[in-house]
Amino acid sequence: MLRTLALGLLMLPLVMMNVANAHGPTRQKVTETVEINAAPDKVWAVIADFHDFSWHPAVEKTEGDGGNKEGAKRTVFIKGGGQLLEELLSYDAAGRNFKYAIIETDMKVLPVNNYSSAIMVEDAGDGKSKVTWRGAFYRGYMNNDPPADQDDAAAVKAAKGVYRGGLDALKKKVEGAG
């Protein structure tokens, strides 16, 4: 009896935590690409530092530590308010790609859950590059019948906006720099 009670008390915070973490909706995926008229190494040089996200027009600044090593963390401050805490999952300089996940999001900025993302620069031939940015995530609202601002469409739209805005700015920045 006592043991059951003790176990029950121990489990209580877990149960409460679980409500926020349970997910049953469908994981979404988004892929956006851009072709840039510059060599892949040149493009990679702009995005290669996990702690330099200044190439993205929506980003105010980042703070973090851990360099470009797996497990490195950065807090991304969004222009106009809101911040995201992100963790580097893998980093491959030779392959010109890295993967990261969002640990804490801001529903107003990016209404997603269990978000992971990868960005990679490939050689497109003729001195050109192809940059692919893709993400996998669940919508913001993790139960059935989500409100419109936290449903699948809202999550996909927000992620597409982030990738499109970033890739187009990256192209402009690299090509504009000659």
Binding site: M11, T26, K29, L89, K99, A101, S116
Partner: protein
């Protein structure tokens, strides 16, 4: 399926594997009958029934013989040697399709439309039907595998996801993510006959090969529930790593394996004792486990790898690079290959169990999950 059903009333098709071959003008009917309780021993625990019918001879002769299992180990069993085409049935969640992949040629040979974001899959004991969960439609979808048609859809609660089939009586067990219970469905009537309350957000489900226990990985309770398949009572719960998702039981029914999404490890459970034998660290966000050749193959979603665990030492001996977001994984019936569905790259990839290399891949419809028993 033919004559055997009429000969032995009460035998379920799942207990019997039949074949018909021609030899010297005679038709040879053969049935391998699994003896209840002896299933874990496979053909050693089977009775063999052989009938020869020779219509070309002046007097039709029929010889029926009941032999002990020894004979069935001498004669290769069609149950083992490809009675049905070896194929993968891949649930593609975003494309809302189940695709059929021939495992010889590794080509997609067909697909069936399944609205409702299909995810979980299990096959009937005779492999003639596939049961697919469609979480968004809140449905169980029944597919006639040979006809490649949806034959039934039924509502099964708010969040159907993981699914398993009883190896003997064919009952279907559907884990309900939101209602925190397992729905039990009769294979004949397709009616829900009962619910078993388990921990929070059950995901993977599996049945022991002897049919005695049903296990569910209760993701948000960090435990495995062990249910008596006859009484449908939870007889024990075993604490495992954080957020267990996929659940696999070995052929002997002695051990179960959970892939723990949050603690990045695999729990190996001693089922008789109800204890953890080992906790093996793997890649990031492990999803599911397949067993072949004395090894466990674990999909690591975030690491984009398959971790290979040597089950003699319970240590990772190799980490294989596969397509992005690997999820459903299973060993084929020969045990030579393991197949893995890569959700983000839209591939089904073949791993050679001996060489531990990815030897082939095929593109499948968008968002393959193949969560469950998806190899026919």
């Amino acid at each position: 399926m033919f004559w055997i059903k009429h000969l032995i009333p009460g035998w379920r098709s799942s207990n019997v594997c039949e074949s018909r071959t021609q030899s010297k003008g005679c038709l040879v009917f053969r049935a391998d009958i699994l003896v209840p309780g002896m299933e874990p021993y496979g053909r050693v625990g089977a009775l063999l029934l052989v009938t020869r019918v020779c219509p070309m001879r002046s007097t039709a002769s029929a010889i029926a013989a009941v032999l002990l299992s020894l004979a069935s180990t001498i004669l290769p069993s069609p149950c083992v040697a490809g009675a049905a085409p070896a194929e993968a049935l891949v649930t593609s969640q975003l494309a809302e399709k189940v695709s059929f992949v021939d495992l010889e040629t590794l080509q997609v040979t067909g697909e069936v439309s399944v609205p409702g974001k299909p995810a979980g899959i299990a096959l009937a004991p005779d492999r003639a039907r596939a049961y697919v969960t469609a979480p968004e439609a809140k449905e169980l979808v029944v597919i006639d595998v040979d006809a490649r048609k949806v034959v039934r859809r039924l509502h099964v609660g708010n969040g159907p996801l993981g699914i398993a089939v009883h190896p003997l009586d064919g009952r279907i067990f559907v884990a309900d993510w939101y209602d925190h219970r397992i729905a039990v469905i009769d294979a004949g009537t397709l009616a829900i006959t009962s619910y078993v309350k388990v921990g929070e957000s059950p995901s993977g489900v599996a049945v022991t090969p002897d049919g005695r226990f049903v296990l569910s990985a209760d993701r948000d309770s960090h435990q495995v529930s062990v249910i008596d398949a006859a009484t449908l009572v939870v007889v024990k719960t075993v604490p495992v790593g954080k957020r267990p998702f996929g659940l696999t039981i070995d052929a002997s029914g002695r051990r179960a394996y959970t892939a723990n999404v949050k603690s990045d490890d695999v729990s190996i459970i001693d089922l008789a004792a109800g204890t953890i034998l080992a906790t093996v660290p793997v890649g990031k966000r492990p999803y599911a486990v397949a067993l072949a050749g004395g090894r466990a193959f674990v999909t690591d979603q975030y690491s984009q790898t398959v971790s290979v665990i040597d089950l003699a030492t319970n240590a990772v001996i190799r980490t294989l690079k596969v397509g992005a977001y690997p999820e459903g994984i299973a060993a084929d019936r020969t045990g030579r290959f393991v197949y893995v569905a890569c959700w983000e790259d839209n591939t089904l990839e073949r791993i050679d169990v001996d060489s531990l290399e990815v030897t082939a891949r095929v593109t499948v419809p968008d968002g393959p999950r193949a969560f469950g028993d998806f190899l026919r």
